[in-house]
Amino acid sequence: MSLLRSPSRGAATSLVRPIKLSRTTRSRARTGQPLGPDRDQNRQTRTALAISVLVALTLMAVDATGRPNSAVEPLRIGAAEVFGPLEAGADAAVRPVTDLASLLVHSRELQADNTRLTDENAGLRAELATGEVDRNRLAEYDALAGITDRTGFKLVNAQVVAIGPAQAFRRTVTINAGTAEGVKKDRTVVNAAGLVGRVLRAGRHTATVLLVIDAGSVVGGRLDRSMELGFLRGNGSLGADGRLVLDLVDPDSVPVNGDTIVTWGSRGGSPYVPGVPVGTVREVQAKAGDQSVTATVEPFADMTSLDVVGVVTGTRQPRGTSGGAVGGAQ
Protein backbone atom coordinates (compact mmCIF):
# COMPACT_ATOMS: atom_id res chain seq x y z
CA MET A 1 0.00 0.00 0.00
CA SER A 2 2.90 2.27 0.72
CA LEU A 3 3.79 1.97 -2.94
CA LEU A 4 0.56 3.80 -3.91
CA ARG A 5 1.75 6.81 -2.03
CA SER A 6 4.96 6.90 -3.98
CA PRO A 7 6.24 10.51 -4.21
CA SER A 8 7.50 10.29 -7.81
CA ARG A 9 4.80 10.42 -10.55
CA GLY A 10 6.89 8.48 -13.00
CA ALA A 11 7.54 5.77 -10.50
CA ALA A 12 3.83 5.60 -9.60
CA THR A 13 2.70 4.84 -13.13
CA SER A 14 5.34 2.20 -13.54
CA LEU A 15 4.29 0.60 -10.25
CA VAL A 16 0.60 0.23 -11.05
CA ARG A 17 1.04 -3.14 -12.66
CA PRO A 18 3.11 -4.72 -9.92
CA ILE A 19 0.49 -3.68 -7.36
CA LYS A 20 -2.29 -5.33 -9.34
CA LEU A 21 -0.26 -8.47 -9.66
CA SER A 22 0.44 -8.70 -5.98
CA ARG A 23 -3.26 -8.21 -5.26
CA THR A 24 -4.27 -11.13 -7.49
CA THR A 25 -1.62 -13.29 -5.91
CA ARG A 26 -2.97 -12.47 -2.48
CA SER A 27 -6.59 -13.17 -3.47
CA ARG A 28 -5.53 -16.41 -5.12
CA ALA A 29 -3.87 -17.45 -1.92
CA ARG A 30 -7.04 -16.66 0.01
CA THR A 31 -9.39 -18.64 -2.27
CA GLY A 32 -7.10 -21.61 -2.37
CA GLN A 33 -4.85 -21.57 -5.45
CA PRO A 34 -2.18 -22.90 -5.00
CA LEU A 35 -0.57 -21.91 -1.64
CA GLY A 36 -3.49 -22.66 0.69
CA PRO A 37 -4.28 -26.30 -0.17
CA ASP A 38 -0.61 -27.13 -0.18
CA ARG A 39 -0.38 -25.98 3.39
CA ASP A 40 -3.61 -27.85 4.21
CA GLN A 41 -2.32 -30.98 2.56
CA ASN A 42 0.97 -30.73 4.36
CA ARG A 43 -0.82 -30.44 7.66
CA GLN A 44 -3.06 -33.39 6.73
CA THR A 45 -0.03 -35.45 5.76
CA ARG A 46 1.80 -34.61 8.97
CA THR A 47 -1.25 -35.54 11.04
CA ALA A 48 -1.74 -38.82 9.15
CA LEU A 49 1.92 -39.71 9.53
CA ALA A 50 2.03 -38.85 13.23
CA ILE A 51 -1.13 -40.82 14.02
CA SER A 52 -0.08 -43.83 11.91
CA VAL A 53 3.36 -44.03 13.47
CA LEU A 54 1.85 -43.66 16.95
CA VAL A 55 -0.72 -46.39 16.32
CA ALA A 56 1.93 -48.75 14.93
CA LEU A 57 4.37 -48.10 17.79
CA THR A 58 1.64 -48.54 20.41
CA LEU A 59 0.64 -51.83 18.86
CA MET A 60 4.26 -52.99 18.80
CA ALA A 61 4.73 -52.03 22.44
CA VAL A 62 1.53 -53.79 23.52
CA ASP A 63 2.34 -56.94 21.56
CA ALA A 64 6.03 -57.05 22.50
CA THR A 65 5.44 -56.74 26.24
CA GLY A 66 2.48 -59.09 26.52
CA ARG A 67 3.63 -62.04 24.43
CA PRO A 68 2.47 -64.74 23.98
CA ASN A 69 -0.86 -63.70 25.49
CA SER A 70 -0.83 -60.03 24.56
CA ALA A 71 -3.90 -57.94 23.89
CA VAL A 72 -3.13 -58.32 20.17
CA GLU A 73 -3.76 -62.09 20.31
CA PRO A 74 -7.57 -61.76 19.93
CA LEU A 75 -6.92 -59.57 16.87
CA ARG A 76 -4.69 -62.29 15.44
CA ILE A 77 -7.34 -64.93 16.00
CA GLY A 78 -9.91 -62.61 14.43
CA ALA A 79 -7.63 -62.14 11.43
CA ALA A 80 -7.18 -65.92 11.26
CA GLU A 81 -10.97 -66.32 11.00
CA VAL A 82 -11.02 -63.91 8.05
CA PHE A 83 -7.78 -64.66 6.23
CA GLY A 84 -7.53 -68.37 7.08
CA PRO A 85 -10.51 -69.48 4.96
CA LEU A 86 -9.49 -67.00 2.23
CA GLU A 87 -6.01 -68.51 2.10
CA ALA A 88 -7.39 -72.05 2.11
CA GLY A 89 -9.78 -71.12 -0.69
CA ALA A 90 -7.05 -69.46 -2.73
CA ASP A 91 -4.82 -72.49 -2.23
CA ALA A 92 -7.57 -74.90 -3.30
CA ALA A 93 -8.24 -72.75 -6.37
CA VAL A 94 -4.66 -72.87 -7.65
CA ARG A 95 -3.80 -76.38 -6.47
CA PRO A 96 -4.45 -77.93 -9.90
CA VAL A 97 -1.95 -75.45 -11.38
CA THR A 98 0.72 -75.91 -8.71
CA ASP A 99 0.23 -79.67 -8.87
CA LEU A 100 0.79 -79.53 -12.61
CA ALA A 101 3.97 -77.53 -12.04
CA SER A 102 5.32 -80.04 -9.56
CA LEU A 103 4.25 -82.81 -11.93
CA LEU A 104 6.46 -81.24 -14.59
CA VAL A 105 9.38 -81.05 -12.18
CA HIS A 106 8.82 -84.68 -11.32
CA SER A 107 8.76 -85.75 -14.92
CA ARG A 108 12.00 -83.84 -15.58
CA GLU A 109 13.64 -85.74 -12.72
CA LEU A 110 12.37 -88.93 -14.23
CA GLN A 111 13.95 -88.09 -17.54
CA ALA A 112 17.33 -87.84 -15.84
CA ASP A 113 16.91 -91.49 -14.93
CA ASN A 114 15.91 -92.23 -18.47
CA THR A 115 18.73 -94.65 -19.36
CA ARG A 116 17.72 -96.94 -16.54
CA LEU A 117 14.03 -96.56 -17.12
CA THR A 118 13.79 -96.39 -20.90
CA ASP A 119 11.62 -99.44 -21.19
CA GLU A 120 9.40 -98.38 -18.33
CA ASN A 121 9.10 -94.82 -19.54
CA ALA A 122 5.97 -95.18 -21.57
CA GLY A 123 4.21 -96.82 -18.69
CA LEU A 124 5.51 -94.22 -16.26
CA ARG A 125 4.35 -91.35 -18.43
CA ALA A 126 0.90 -92.82 -18.60
CA GLU A 127 0.94 -93.07 -14.84
CA LEU A 128 2.22 -89.52 -14.50
CA ALA A 129 -0.75 -88.34 -16.46
CA THR A 130 -2.99 -90.00 -13.90
CA GLY A 131 -1.54 -87.83 -11.18
CA GLU A 132 1.88 -88.34 -9.70
CA VAL A 133 1.17 -85.61 -7.16
CA ASP A 134 -2.12 -87.14 -6.09
CA ARG A 135 -0.45 -90.50 -5.56
CA ASN A 136 2.40 -88.91 -3.62
CA ARG A 137 -0.14 -87.21 -1.44
CA LEU A 138 -2.01 -90.46 -0.94
CA ALA A 139 1.25 -92.13 0.05
CA GLU A 140 1.81 -89.37 2.63
CA TYR A 141 -1.66 -89.94 4.05
CA ASP A 142 -0.93 -93.68 4.20
CA ALA A 143 2.34 -93.06 5.99
CA LEU A 144 0.62 -90.75 8.46
CA ALA A 145 -1.96 -93.43 9.13
CA GLY A 146 1.00 -95.74 9.75
CA ILE A 147 2.31 -93.37 12.44
CA THR A 148 -1.07 -93.46 14.11
CA ASP A 149 -1.02 -97.26 14.08
CA ARG A 150 2.52 -97.50 15.47
CA THR A 151 2.35 -94.87 18.19
CA GLY A 152 -1.31 -94.72 19.12
CA PHE A 153 -1.42 -90.95 18.62
CA LYS A 154 -4.61 -89.65 17.13
CA LEU A 155 -3.86 -87.47 14.15
CA VAL A 156 -5.91 -84.88 12.30
CA ASN A 157 -4.78 -84.57 8.70
CA ALA A 158 -4.33 -81.19 7.09
CA GLN A 159 -2.63 -79.53 4.17
CA VAL A 160 -0.28 -76.57 4.17
CA VAL A 161 -2.13 -73.72 2.44
CA ALA A 162 0.20 -70.76 3.03
CA ILE A 163 3.85 -70.28 3.90
CA GLY A 164 5.33 -67.30 5.71
CA PRO A 165 7.56 -65.24 3.40
CA ALA A 166 11.30 -64.81 3.92
CA GLN A 167 10.73 -61.08 4.47
CA ALA A 168 8.99 -61.95 7.74
CA PHE A 169 12.16 -63.77 8.91
CA ARG A 170 10.03 -66.47 10.55
CA ARG A 171 9.31 -70.03 9.51
CA THR A 172 5.58 -70.46 9.91
CA VAL A 173 2.85 -72.02 7.79
CA THR A 174 -0.93 -72.03 7.71
CA ILE A 175 -2.72 -75.39 7.65
CA ASN A 176 -6.35 -76.01 6.74
CA ALA A 177 -7.52 -77.59 9.99
CA GLY A 178 -8.62 -75.69 13.08
CA THR A 179 -10.54 -75.94 16.32
CA ALA A 180 -13.53 -77.41 14.47
CA GLU A 181 -11.33 -80.39 13.57
CA GLY A 182 -9.86 -80.67 17.06
CA VAL A 183 -6.65 -78.70 16.48
CA LYS A 184 -5.61 -76.62 19.46
CA LYS A 185 -2.76 -74.35 20.49
CA ASP A 186 0.47 -76.16 21.41
CA ARG A 187 -0.23 -79.41 19.59
CA THR A 188 2.49 -81.39 17.87
CA VAL A 189 2.54 -81.28 14.07
CA VAL A 190 4.19 -84.13 12.17
CA ASN A 191 4.36 -85.42 8.65
CA ALA A 192 5.20 -88.82 7.24
CA ALA A 193 8.93 -88.15 7.64
CA GLY A 194 9.01 -86.74 11.14
CA LEU A 195 8.45 -83.71 13.36
CA VAL A 196 7.25 -80.55 11.61
CA GLY A 197 6.48 -78.13 14.44
CA ARG A 198 3.80 -77.04 16.84
CA VAL A 199 0.51 -75.17 16.61
CA LEU A 200 0.91 -71.50 17.56
CA ARG A 201 -2.77 -70.62 17.37
CA ALA A 202 -5.88 -72.11 15.85
CA GLY A 203 -8.86 -70.52 14.17
CA ARG A 204 -12.03 -72.45 13.38
CA HIS A 205 -10.80 -74.09 10.19
CA THR A 206 -7.17 -73.02 9.95
CA ALA A 207 -4.18 -72.97 12.25
CA THR A 208 -0.73 -71.40 12.28
CA VAL A 209 2.19 -73.77 12.75
CA LEU A 210 5.68 -72.78 13.95
CA LEU A 211 8.19 -74.96 12.12
CA VAL A 212 10.99 -76.54 14.14
CA ILE A 213 13.59 -74.72 12.01
CA ASP A 214 12.29 -71.29 13.10
CA ALA A 215 14.89 -69.38 15.09
CA GLY A 216 12.42 -69.08 17.97
CA SER A 217 11.64 -72.80 18.14
CA VAL A 218 13.07 -75.01 20.89
CA VAL A 219 12.35 -78.75 21.02
CA GLY A 220 13.50 -81.22 23.63
CA GLY A 221 15.26 -84.10 21.88
CA ARG A 222 16.74 -87.46 22.78
CA LEU A 223 19.59 -89.23 21.01
CA ASP A 224 18.25 -92.67 20.22
CA ARG A 225 21.59 -94.47 20.66
CA SER A 226 22.79 -92.98 23.97
CA MET A 227 19.39 -91.80 25.29
CA GLU A 228 21.06 -88.46 26.06
CA LEU A 229 18.80 -85.44 26.25
CA GLY A 230 19.27 -82.08 24.58
CA PHE A 231 17.60 -79.03 23.14
CA LEU A 232 17.10 -78.48 19.43
CA ARG A 233 16.96 -74.89 18.26
CA GLY A 234 16.03 -73.90 14.72
CA ASN A 235 18.64 -71.94 12.80
CA GLY A 236 15.90 -69.85 11.19
CA SER A 237 17.44 -70.32 7.76
CA LEU A 238 15.20 -68.77 5.15
CA GLY A 239 16.30 -71.05 2.34
CA ALA A 240 16.48 -74.79 1.89
CA ASP A 241 19.31 -75.23 4.43
CA GLY A 242 17.04 -75.24 7.47
CA ARG A 243 18.88 -77.05 10.25
CA LEU A 244 18.54 -77.62 13.98
CA VAL A 245 21.30 -77.00 16.48
CA LEU A 246 21.49 -79.56 19.28
CA ASP A 247 22.78 -78.61 22.72
CA LEU A 248 23.13 -81.63 24.97
CA VAL A 249 22.17 -81.35 28.63
CA ASP A 250 25.14 -83.51 29.66
CA PRO A 251 28.20 -81.68 28.35
CA ASP A 252 30.33 -84.85 28.49
CA SER A 253 28.23 -86.81 26.05
CA VAL A 254 29.27 -86.60 22.44
CA PRO A 255 26.82 -87.18 19.62
CA VAL A 256 28.02 -89.07 16.56
CA ASN A 257 27.26 -88.32 12.94
CA GLY A 258 24.26 -90.32 11.87
CA ASP A 259 22.66 -90.44 15.32
CA THR A 260 18.90 -90.17 15.15
CA ILE A 261 17.06 -87.77 17.42
CA VAL A 262 13.50 -88.24 18.61
CA THR A 263 11.38 -85.86 20.66
CA TRP A 264 11.86 -86.05 24.39
CA GLY A 265 8.25 -85.10 25.00
CA SER A 266 6.64 -82.46 27.16
CA ARG A 267 4.42 -83.04 30.16
CA GLY A 268 1.00 -84.02 28.91
CA GLY A 269 2.29 -84.23 25.35
CA SER A 270 1.93 -80.49 24.78
CA PRO A 271 3.47 -78.91 22.83
CA TYR A 272 5.51 -81.99 21.89
CA VAL A 273 4.58 -85.63 22.24
CA PRO A 274 7.49 -88.02 22.94
CA GLY A 275 9.08 -90.36 20.43
CA VAL A 276 8.54 -88.47 17.18
CA PRO A 277 11.61 -88.72 14.92
CA VAL A 278 13.13 -85.26 14.46
CA GLY A 279 16.29 -85.63 12.41
CA THR A 280 19.79 -86.98 11.96
CA VAL A 281 23.06 -85.58 13.36
CA ARG A 282 25.02 -84.29 10.37
CA GLU A 283 27.90 -82.40 11.94
CA VAL A 284 29.50 -82.20 15.38
CA GLN A 285 31.44 -79.10 16.44
CA ALA A 286 33.36 -78.42 19.62
CA LYS A 287 32.03 -75.27 21.26
CA ALA A 288 34.62 -72.56 21.75
CA GLY A 289 35.33 -71.79 25.40
CA ASP A 290 34.17 -74.99 27.09
CA GLN A 291 34.34 -78.71 26.54
CA SER A 292 30.76 -79.18 25.40
CA VAL A 293 29.83 -79.79 21.81
CA THR A 294 26.97 -78.75 19.58
CA ALA A 295 25.64 -80.82 16.74
CA THR A 296 23.90 -79.76 13.57
CA VAL A 297 20.82 -81.82 12.91
CA GLU A 298 19.13 -82.22 9.56
CA PRO A 299 15.39 -82.58 10.08
CA PHE A 300 13.69 -85.62 8.54
CA ALA A 301 10.76 -83.53 7.35
CA ASP A 302 11.61 -81.52 4.25
CA MET A 303 10.57 -78.03 5.27
CA THR A 304 10.67 -76.69 1.72
CA SER A 305 8.04 -79.04 0.33
CA LEU A 306 5.61 -79.45 3.20
CA ASP A 307 2.18 -80.54 2.04
CA VAL A 308 0.24 -83.13 4.01
CA VAL A 309 0.76 -82.88 7.76
CA GLY A 310 -0.88 -84.41 10.81
CA VAL A 311 -1.73 -82.66 14.06
CA VAL A 312 -1.60 -84.85 17.16
CA THR A 313 -4.92 -84.41 18.92
CA GLY A 314 -4.88 -87.46 21.18
CA THR A 315 -2.00 -87.79 23.60
CA ARG A 316 -2.21 -91.44 24.57
CA GLN A 317 1.29 -92.36 25.77
CA PRO A 318 2.97 -94.91 23.51
CA ARG A 319 4.08 -98.16 25.06
CA GLY A 320 7.73 -98.55 26.01
CA THR A 321 10.44 -96.71 27.88
CA SER A 322 10.05 -93.20 26.44
CA GLY A 323 6.64 -92.82 28.02
CA GLY A 324 8.01 -93.55 31.46
CA ALA A 325 10.97 -91.24 31.01
CA VAL A 326 8.77 -88.28 30.15
CA GLY A 327 7.34 -87.81 33.62
CA GLY A 328 10.75 -87.93 35.25
CA ALA A 329 12.39 -85.71 32.69
CA GLN A 330 10.47 -82.53 33.27
Binding site: P34, P37, Q41, Q44, T45, T47, A48, L49, S52, V53, V55, A56, L57, T58, L59, M60, D63, R67, V72, L75, R76, G78, A79, A80, V82, F83, G84, L86, E87, A88, A90, V94, V161, A162, I163, G164, P165, A166, Q167, A168, F169, R170, R171, T172, V173, T174, L200, R201, G203, T206, A207, T208, V209, L210, D214, A215, G216, G236, L238, G239
Partner: protein, 170 residues
Protein backbone atom coordinates in the same frame (compact mmCIF):
# COMPACT_ATOMS: atom_id res chain seq x y z
CA UNK B 1 -20.73 -43.97 -2.54
CA UNK B 2 -19.98 -42.89 1.03
CA UNK B 3 -20.39 -46.46 2.32
CA UNK B 4 -19.34 -48.25 -0.82
CA UNK B 5 -15.94 -46.60 -1.16
CA UNK B 6 -14.52 -47.78 2.20
CA UNK B 7 -16.06 -51.18 1.57
CA UNK B 8 -14.30 -51.52 -1.77
CA UNK B 9 -11.06 -50.31 -0.18
CA UNK B 10 -11.42 -52.93 2.56
CA UNK B 11 -12.14 -55.60 -0.03
CA UNK B 12 -9.08 -54.53 -2.03
CA UNK B 13 -6.86 -54.85 1.04
CA UNK B 14 -8.35 -58.27 1.88
CA UNK B 15 -7.82 -59.60 -1.63
CA UNK B 16 -4.32 -58.13 -1.88
CA UNK B 17 -3.13 -59.62 1.40
CA UNK B 18 -4.76 -62.98 0.62
CA UNK B 19 -3.04 -63.16 -2.75
CA UNK B 20 0.26 -62.11 -1.19
CA UNK B 21 0.15 -64.68 1.61
CA UNK B 22 -1.84 -67.44 -0.04
CA UNK B 23 -0.74 -67.47 -3.66
CA UNK B 24 2.53 -65.60 -4.01
CA UNK B 25 4.28 -67.97 -1.59
CA UNK B 26 4.03 -70.51 -4.40
CA UNK B 27 6.01 -68.16 -6.63
CA UNK B 28 8.61 -67.25 -4.03
CA UNK B 29 12.26 -66.73 -4.93
CA UNK B 30 14.44 -68.05 -2.09
CA UNK B 31 11.38 -67.69 0.11
CA UNK B 32 10.90 -64.03 -0.79
CA UNK B 33 7.48 -63.07 -2.15
CA UNK B 34 6.57 -59.82 -3.91
CA UNK B 35 5.04 -57.31 -1.53
CA UNK B 36 1.68 -56.81 -3.21
CA UNK B 37 0.30 -54.78 -0.30
CA UNK B 38 3.20 -52.36 -0.71
CA UNK B 39 2.41 -51.91 -4.41
CA UNK B 40 -1.24 -51.21 -3.59
CA UNK B 41 -0.19 -48.58 -1.06
CA UNK B 42 2.33 -46.97 -3.40
CA UNK B 43 -0.26 -46.77 -6.19
CA UNK B 44 -2.73 -45.15 -3.80
CA UNK B 45 -0.11 -42.68 -2.60
CA UNK B 46 0.77 -41.69 -6.17
CA UNK B 47 -2.87 -41.10 -7.10
CA UNK B 48 -4.24 -39.76 -3.84
CA UNK B 49 -1.32 -38.15 -2.09
CA UNK B 50 0.83 -38.86 0.97
CA UNK B 51 -1.87 -38.54 3.65
CA UNK B 52 -4.05 -41.20 2.05
CA UNK B 53 -1.02 -43.36 1.30
CA UNK B 54 0.07 -43.23 4.92
CA UNK B 55 -3.31 -44.21 6.35
CA UNK B 56 -3.86 -46.97 3.78
CA UNK B 57 -0.33 -48.20 4.52
CA UNK B 58 -1.18 -48.43 8.20
CA UNK B 59 -4.25 -50.57 7.57
CA UNK B 60 -2.75 -52.74 4.82
CA UNK B 61 0.33 -53.27 7.00
CA UNK B 62 -1.87 -54.21 9.93
CA UNK B 63 -3.54 -56.85 7.76
CA UNK B 64 -0.13 -58.24 6.75
CA UNK B 65 0.91 -58.19 10.42
CA UNK B 66 -2.11 -60.19 11.57
CA UNK B 67 -2.97 -62.50 8.64
CA UNK B 68 -1.81 -66.06 9.34
CA UNK B 69 0.83 -67.47 9.28
CA UNK B 70 2.47 -64.18 10.37
CA UNK B 71 3.72 -64.33 13.94
CA UNK B 72 6.04 -61.34 14.24
CA UNK B 73 5.29 -58.59 16.75
CA UNK B 74 2.23 -56.78 15.35
CA UNK B 75 2.54 -53.22 14.12
CA UNK B 76 5.85 -53.66 12.33
CA UNK B 77 4.45 -54.03 8.82
CA UNK B 78 1.91 -51.33 9.71
CA UNK B 79 4.77 -48.96 10.50
CA UNK B 80 6.75 -50.05 7.45
CA UNK B 81 3.91 -49.63 4.96
CA UNK B 82 2.65 -46.37 6.50
CA UNK B 83 6.14 -44.91 6.06
CA UNK B 84 6.33 -46.35 2.53
CA UNK B 85 2.96 -44.76 1.69
CA UNK B 86 4.13 -41.42 3.05
CA UNK B 87 7.39 -41.67 1.15
CA UNK B 88 5.69 -42.59 -2.13
CA UNK B 89 3.25 -39.72 -1.65
CA UNK B 90 6.07 -37.24 -1.05
CA UNK B 91 7.98 -38.37 -4.13
CA UNK B 92 4.99 -38.51 -6.44
CA UNK B 93 4.90 -36.56 -9.65
CA UNK B 94 1.17 -36.85 -10.13
CA UNK B 95 -1.21 -39.46 -11.47
CA UNK B 96 0.31 -39.12 -14.93
CA UNK B 97 3.91 -39.26 -13.91
CA UNK B 98 6.31 -41.12 -16.22
CA UNK B 99 6.57 -44.86 -15.74
CA UNK B 100 10.23 -44.60 -14.76
CA UNK B 101 9.29 -42.35 -11.84
CA UNK B 102 6.71 -44.91 -10.69
CA UNK B 103 9.25 -47.72 -10.82
CA UNK B 104 11.76 -45.59 -8.90
CA UNK B 105 9.10 -44.79 -6.29
CA UNK B 106 8.33 -48.49 -5.89
CA UNK B 107 12.03 -49.31 -5.54
CA UNK B 108 12.60 -46.69 -2.85
CA UNK B 109 9.41 -47.61 -0.99
CA UNK B 110 10.18 -51.33 -1.13
CA UNK B 111 13.67 -50.78 0.24
CA UNK B 112 12.30 -48.53 2.96
CA UNK B 113 9.48 -50.88 3.97
CA UNK B 114 11.59 -54.05 4.12
CA UNK B 115 14.34 -52.20 6.00
CA UNK B 116 11.94 -50.68 8.53
CA UNK B 117 10.38 -54.10 9.13
CA UNK B 118 13.77 -55.77 9.57
CA UNK B 119 15.15 -52.93 11.69
CA UNK B 120 12.14 -52.95 14.02
CA UNK B 121 12.68 -56.69 14.41
CA UNK B 122 16.33 -56.14 15.29
CA UNK B 123 15.39 -53.48 17.85
CA UNK B 124 12.75 -55.75 19.42
CA UNK B 125 15.22 -58.68 19.21
CA UNK B 126 12.83 -60.87 17.27
CA UNK B 127 14.19 -64.35 16.47
CA UNK B 128 15.65 -65.04 13.05
CA UNK B 129 16.63 -61.49 12.15
CA UNK B 130 20.24 -60.45 11.79
CA UNK B 131 22.07 -58.14 9.44
CA UNK B 132 23.20 -61.01 7.20
CA UNK B 133 19.72 -62.41 6.62
CA UNK B 134 18.37 -58.90 6.09
CA UNK B 135 20.98 -58.17 3.43
CA UNK B 136 20.11 -61.50 1.84
CA UNK B 137 16.42 -60.68 1.64
CA UNK B 138 16.51 -56.95 0.78
CA UNK B 139 17.80 -57.10 -2.82
CA UNK B 140 15.59 -60.04 -3.80
CA UNK B 141 12.52 -58.32 -2.36
CA UNK B 142 13.45 -55.07 -4.11
CA UNK B 143 13.96 -56.72 -7.50
CA UNK B 144 10.83 -58.84 -7.21
CA UNK B 145 8.70 -55.82 -6.28
CA UNK B 146 10.10 -53.83 -9.19
CA UNK B 147 9.63 -56.79 -11.54
CA UNK B 148 5.89 -57.06 -10.92
CA UNK B 149 5.35 -53.30 -10.77
CA UNK B 150 4.32 -53.04 -14.47
CA UNK B 151 1.70 -55.75 -13.92
CA UNK B 152 0.23 -54.37 -10.72
CA UNK B 153 0.78 -50.65 -10.16
CA UNK B 154 -0.88 -49.24 -13.33
CA UNK B 155 -3.94 -51.38 -12.64
CA UNK B 156 -4.01 -50.36 -8.98
CA UNK B 157 -3.66 -46.69 -9.97
CA UNK B 158 -6.62 -47.07 -12.32
CA UNK B 159 -8.68 -48.56 -9.51
CA UNK B 160 -7.76 -45.77 -7.10
CA UNK B 161 -8.63 -43.13 -9.72
CA UNK B 162 -11.92 -44.90 -10.42
CA UNK B 163 -12.69 -45.05 -6.69
CA UNK B 164 -12.24 -41.31 -6.32
CA UNK B 165 -12.28 -39.45 -9.66
CA UNK B 166 -11.99 -35.97 -8.06
CA UNK B 167 -8.52 -34.82 -9.05
CA UNK B 168 -6.11 -34.29 -6.23
CA UNK B 169 -4.53 -30.82 -6.29
CA UNK B 170 -0.80 -30.82 -6.33
Amino acid sequence: MIVIRPLITLLLVLVTVTVQVGLFTKLSIAGVVPDLALLLVVAAAIVRGPAYGTVLGLFAGLAVDLAPPADGIAGRWALALALAGWLAGQARGGARQPAVATVATVAVSSLAATSVYALSGLVLSEPGIDVASTLEVLPIALLYDVAITPLVVPLAMLVWRWLDPTPVRW
